[in-house]
Structures are given as structure tokens and as C-alpha cells.
Amino acid sequence: MAQTTTSKSGAHGAHAAHEAHHDHHELGYLSKYIFSSDHKMIGIQYGVTALFFLLFGFFLVGCMRWQLAYPGRAIPVVGGLLETLLGKDMAAGGVMQGDLYNAFGAMHGTIMVFLAIVPLAFGAFGNFVTPLQIGAPDMAFPRLNMASYHFYFFGGIVMFASFFIPGGAARSGWTSYSPLATTAQFGQAFNGQTAWLIGMVLLINSSLLGAVNFITTIIQLRTKGMSWMRMPFFVWAQFVTAFLLLLAFPPLEAAGVLQLMDNVFHTSFFLPTGLVVDGAQLPVSGGGSPLLWQHLFWFLGHPEVYVLILPAMGIVSEVIANSTRKPLWGYRPMVYSVITVGFLSFIVWAHHMYLTGMGTKISTFFQTTTMMISIPSVIILTALFISLWGGSIRFNTASLFALAFLPMFGIGGLTGLPLGFNASDIFLHDSYYVIGHFHYVVAPGTIFGLLAGIYFWYPKATGRFLNETLGKIHFWGSLVCMNLVFAPMFIQGFKGMSRRMYDGGATYFAETDPTALKLNIYITHSAIALGVFQLPFIWNFFASLFVGRKVTNDNPWDATTLDWATPTPPPHGNFTHQPVVYRGPYEYSVPGAAKDFSPQNQPS
């Protein structure tokens, strides 16, 4: 620590000179907003882009939900536009066709995971908040950080543009299982799947650059006195997340290149011998393994689940400590648990593959590790629940979202159990039960955590508050609608309704169990209502930049961590002088203290 501290004061000194220099030369528009190397601007760029993709991903599933509820009926409002833009093969007469359904399904998953949630959780919050919370003037590698955003942006452009290339976007699920990913548009060298793979390589590069930057920053740039066990839990969560990205993504990048070779140059990394497609032998040599792709994909895919959830847990922890006015209960066990979750997340991946022909021994290994990983996750969640006890809880929009995260993520986590045991997974596998499970984890789970973060840090980033009334409409509407959307999916799963069915399961359930199909209609209406309840948020997000109530001091929530010790909004370089840390991150309501919060940088 001593060594880093010396080098850091040096960095701060150089930085002060840099600041002085700035007084004379205001940054131009391009270098301030587009080619910024400032972690806060990059965080905001990530945030705004990711929110756009979140909305776009929601639009895609909105169209799909219409088709599920009313198979074969033209999509209202946008059906005609889809036909014009994407062609008759995709949306004849405004009716979603099978290929379009599969394309939207694949891209909904891809966009939500890789272009919306991860960039928002890791790229936006990680970038904006982490350096502030550890008292650093910026990320360790500001230009790498800029490159990370640009890779992400171009990855997003490639994914978005792929809807408009001949044949349309990738249509083989967000998991892109071979051989379907190769055979779906065989012979068309540049197809949606090719674009998907190129886009993924760009996004993976973006994440890798971000990951090395976060790890270096958190290890090297902690300010004086910021020992490991004084780091806010949010920083721990980002730290573990960075390792997950760093270690899990490269295998998928390699796999992506191999699948690209299969698609474009007709190699057979993932194609076995003797494939017959459309009645003819596929002209490839064969000898590859489709299951190899699944292993490489899920080796990323499962840690990715924790990439989605850990930053949200970090945000929720910050907001809960602040709004209960007391320290997080069990901070140390939480830190050890998050590290344990990180390690274990690398050895559970094949529980996505129980039904690929797995014997007892291998599946026993993977279900045992799966049950093991549930324990530290439960410890974190329990610690957050217990943290409420004895608090003096404030219910603003940020804390409402953070509080709702707890039971909602609880449902998401618990419904993972019957999928984690292989024997009970046999029936539930690939059913709507699975869809309900991971959407509870990601939507009212992670997204609620991220929204809590937006309401919480918006005043620091902009100098104005988001409107609380609109915020509460947004919250209650989202909470009710999310549950109306996802809870019926567990029932559909019990009924045996399979996912990714273009007709919403009508082929199987129309005669035997029409109520299963009725649920599709209810879910779709709830999803539309959920969309309506996002309008106050969208308005609030932009209008508050101009008309929001102004913050009157730099620490409007009476918080303890260093992110609130900066000017508002934080200038280039963040702190007016290097902060020194004297205590742990959540010293709220310390007995004998004058106020109910003791900031980390306040000398005792």
C-alpha cells in the first residue's frame, strides 16, 4: 500500500498541473463528449447507449410477445414499418414470420445481455462510480477506457445493422448453438450470424479492455487509507466482475472465431460428419463437435450471469446502507462470499447442458458445484435482508428499487434450485419456467438494482435530482407489471410449455390446455403496460437535466463513501485534493457521533 500511495500523490500532483492547464483551454466538443478519456464521461456514454439498447431490446420482445399472444395477427403500429424495412419474408402484411421471430429472439437476448445490462452495470456504473469511490483521479488507463467504449459502440452498430442485411439478423438463439448457427443460412457468406460473431468479437474486446482497466485501477489507484476492507461493497463487486469478464470471455472469443470459420470458410470445428440439411448432404468435411461450442459458450455464459448480477448487488448494497442509515450487516462475509461466487462461477457451466447426454458422474459434479454456489449467494442476500433490521429506512425512489430488488432477486434465485438439480431439470428444462427464472434474476433483479443506481447517482452526475413523483410512478408500475409478466411463466413452465415457440405453443396446447395460451395474452398485455410505465422514467431522465431540482450540496444523500466527497458534477480529475480515508465505508449512525453519517474521508 505504501508504495502505491507515494506513486499516487505523484499522479495527483501531475494532475493538479493538468487541471491548471485546463483553465486556459476548455476541451472542444469532440474531445469532451465523443473522444473523452474521462472515466465519468465514458461512464455516461456507456449509460446512455446501454439505456437505448435496453429500450430497443424491449421493443424486440414487445413484437415477439404480440406474436405469442395473437399468432398470425399483424403487429399493431409497427407491423407495416417492419414489412417495409425488413421485407416480406420477415413481416408479410405486418405479421411476424418464423425467421423474424427467431431473429428478434436471438437479438433480444444478445442485446439485453451484451449491449444493455452488462454495459450499464459494468461500463456505466463501474466507470462512473468506481474511481470516485476509491478516491482515484481517473481510471488507470484512460485511453484504453475510451477504446473500450468505442469497441462497444461499434459492436452495437454491427449488431443493429445486422437486421438490415440480406436475410436479416442472427436467428439461432442468443446461444448460437452449432450446427444451426451455421446451417440456418448456409451458403450466404455474410449473413446475420456472421455479423453477430463480428459484433460479439468487438463487444468481447470492449469488455476485456474494461476488465484489465478496472482490475489495475482498483489494485493501484486506491487513495491513501483505502485498504481492501475499507472498499465499498460496490467496488468489490466490480472487482470480481472484472475478473469474471477477463477470464471467461476469451474462450468465447476463440469459439466465435472458430464458428466464423465454419460459417464463412466451411471448416467443421462444430460440425459433425454426415449432416443432411434440406435433404442433401452438407458439403463440409465434418468431424467436429457441436457440444464443444456449448462448452465454450457456457464457460462464458455462466460467469456472465454473475457479471449481470454482482454489480447490481453492489449498487443495492450502497443504496441500502445509505437509506437504512446503518452499516451493512456482515460486510466481511459479503466480501468473502462475492469472491467465492466469482471462483465457483467458473465450475458450474455445464448445468446448462444436463440434457446433452450427460452421465451421472459429470452431472453430479456440476450439480454439486451449483448447489455450492447457492450458499454464498444466499449469504449476500441474507446479509442485505438483515441490514434492514434496526435501520431508520428512507423510502425514496432509489431505495424503493433497491428494497424491491431483495424479494424479487430472491424469487429469481430460488427458482434456480429446481433447475440446478438435474433430476428436476429433466421436466423443466427449456420450458417457460427457465424464462421466468432468469428474467426474475435479470429484470426485477438486476434492472431494479441498476435503476436504483440511476436514481441514486443522477444528482452527482448532473447536479440535479430526478423527479420523485415520476420516480415512484415508475417504480410501482414496474414492480407490479414485472410480476404480472414473469410470474405466469412459472405456471406455463409447469404445463410444459417450451420456450422459443413461434406460435406461443399453440401447436401443442390449442386442444389440450387453452389456458396455457390465455396466459400468453395476459403476459403480453402486462408487458405493454410495463412499457407504458417506462415513459415517466424516459421523460424524467431527460427533462430533469434541465428542470430537475438542483442539488444544494455535494453530498445530498448524507452518504459516507468518497464518491460524495467530490464537487458536483465531479470535474476532470474528480477531487479538489487527494482524499484520505480514515474508516470503513458504511459508518452510519455511529454511537456518539454528531451526525448520523461519518464520511470515510472525515478525520476522526
Partner: protein, 257 residues
């Protein structure tokens, strides 16, 4: 337990091993319910009792004691019991332990293709015709050599045509696929298994209820995925034998040519 789950829409179970799987699903859900009700009740009490207006000053220490550690330990033990007592042995029985010849299983090959199910029985001679991928085509999904004598009596149902299975006799289905990954899902039999091209993966089950059932494809396989529905009927031994003999005669001169 199946009865309880049926209240939530679960289809009837029609295989020998199915009830055991349902029991596990039921027990896991009871555990989940217990945890969730506990958490949620606690949560409601906590946010009511410790709201700012009811509790102006927060308590720095909060909960003291180790109640939660005991609860977490308890959860770990219950999970271990479900794992070791149920999941592992159930899987070993349902998946690994194939019926022996003494149990006189019906053996079939199932070939999935975009977007249909095809089944293949060895015929009265009990021997499969010679198969090779170079003979494979849409009309001959199993790639049976048309000149091979042992294949002449084979029974095949193609393009989602219904096939029959005898009740109370173990079935071994060897699953494969011609093109992409499909998933062979028999809801009532509590059977789910991917069909992976290039591999032949056996599943087994013993139907215990007469009836007409569907084969569902549970793995995205292309734009016709949702329509890929196959049919089979579980019938009495006599009916099966009659069908088998007739199909074999019908197949003798015509199929695979």
C-alpha cells in the same frame, strides 16, 4: 406429489420413473416456498417496523447473534439431502441404468430432422438394417442400406407419423439428429434429451398409462421449430404386436428405396 403439482398445471405422469422426478420437484418447491415466505414476512416486518417515521434513529449494530448462520447451515444441509438423497440417485436410475436384455426392452432409433420426428424399429428379426450416413436423405432418415437383407423387415415411421409403444415394457430410444440439435421431450413420460447430430444418445422409460401422446421439440431448430410435433401411442401388447407385424410387411418392399 404429482397430484399437488397438477394443481399448478403439470401434466399427468405416465411413466414408471416420472413420479420420482415429480417428488423432487415438489420437495424443492416446498423448500423454496418456506424460504421465500420466511424472507418475505421478515422483509415486511423490517420495512414497517424500521421505517424512518417509526424509528428515527438507526441502531449501529443491528442484529446481534448467529441465528442467520444456523439458518444458512440448515439450508446447506437440506440442499445436500436433496442432492445426495434424491437428485443423484434419481438421475442414475432415470438416465444411466439402461434396461437389460432380460427386461425385454423395445429398442427404437429416433432421428430428428427439420422439422419432423422419425422412429425406426429393428423388425421381427430383431436386427437393424445396415446403416451409413451416405444413404441418408429426407426419405431415408436412418440411412439404411436399401440392398441390405436385414433392413428389409425394419419398421420406420417418418415425417411425424404416429408410432406405437407397448404398455409396461421398457423402451430404449437411441436419439440422434440429421441436421441441427433438437430435443426429444415427452412431457407425460418425464423424458427430455437433446438429439445431437453425430451422436447416438440412449434414453429409456417405461410407459405405464395407455394414451395418445406428443413428442415435443424443446430445442430451437429453425423457423419450423414450433410445428415440430411428433406422435406416439401407448397401447396394449396385442395391439402393438399386430401393428408391428403389419408395419414390417408394409415396410418390407417399400421403405428405404
Amino acid at each position: 406429489m404429482t397430484k399437488l403439482l397438477q394443481l399448478f398445471g403439470m401434466p399427468d405422469v405416465a411413466s414408471a420413473h416420472g413420479a420420482g422426478l415429480d417428488d423432487l420437484i415438489g420437495y424443492v418447491h416446498l423448500l423454496m416456498l418456506l424460504l421465500f415466505v420466511g424472507w418475505f414476512a421478515y422483509f415486511l416486518v423490517a420495512i414497517t417496523k424500521f421505517r424512518k417515521s417509526a424509528n428515527a434513529k438507526a441502531d449501529y449494530l443491528g442484529v446481534k447473534g448467529h441465528m442467520n448462520s444456523y439458518l444458512e447451515l440448515g439450508l446447506a444441509i437440506v440442499e445436500a439431502v436433496l442432492l445426495i438423497g434424491f437428485a443423484i440417485p434419481l438421475w442414475a436410475r432415470a438416465v444411466d441404468r439402461l434396461p437389460t436384455a432380460a427386461e425385454n426392452p423395445v429398442e427404437i432409433q429416433v432421428m430428428a430432422m427439420q422439422f419432423s420426428w422419425n422412429a425406426h424399429f429393428a423388425g421381427p428379426d430383431g436386427k437393424w438394417g445396415l446403416q451409413d450416413t451416405r444413404f441418408a436423405s429426407s426419405g431415408n432418415p436412418f440411412g439404411v442400406d436399401p440392398k441390405n437383407a436385414e433392413g428389409k423387415d425394419d419398421v420406420a415411421t417418418v415425417s411425424n407419423e404416429e408410432f406405437l409403444l407397448p404398455i409396461n415394457r421398457p423402451v430404449i430410444a437411441k436419439l440422434s439428429s440429421m441436421d441441427v440439435i433438437h430435443c426429444f421431450k415427452l412431457l407425460e413420460m418425464r423424458v427430455t434429451q437433446d438429439c445431437v447430430p453425430g451422436l447416438s444418445i440412449p434414453v429409456h422409460f417405461t410407459p405405464t398409462k395407455l394414451g395418445k401422446y406428443s413428442i415435443m421439440c424443446a430445442q430451437l431448430c429453425g423457423n419450423g421449430h414450433s410445428k415440430m410435433r411428433g406422435y406416439y401411442r401407448v397401447v396394449a401388447k396385442d395391439e402393438f404386436d399386430k401393428w408391428y407385424a403389419e408395419k414390417s410387411k408394409a415396410g418390407a418392399g417399400t421403405s428405404f428405396e
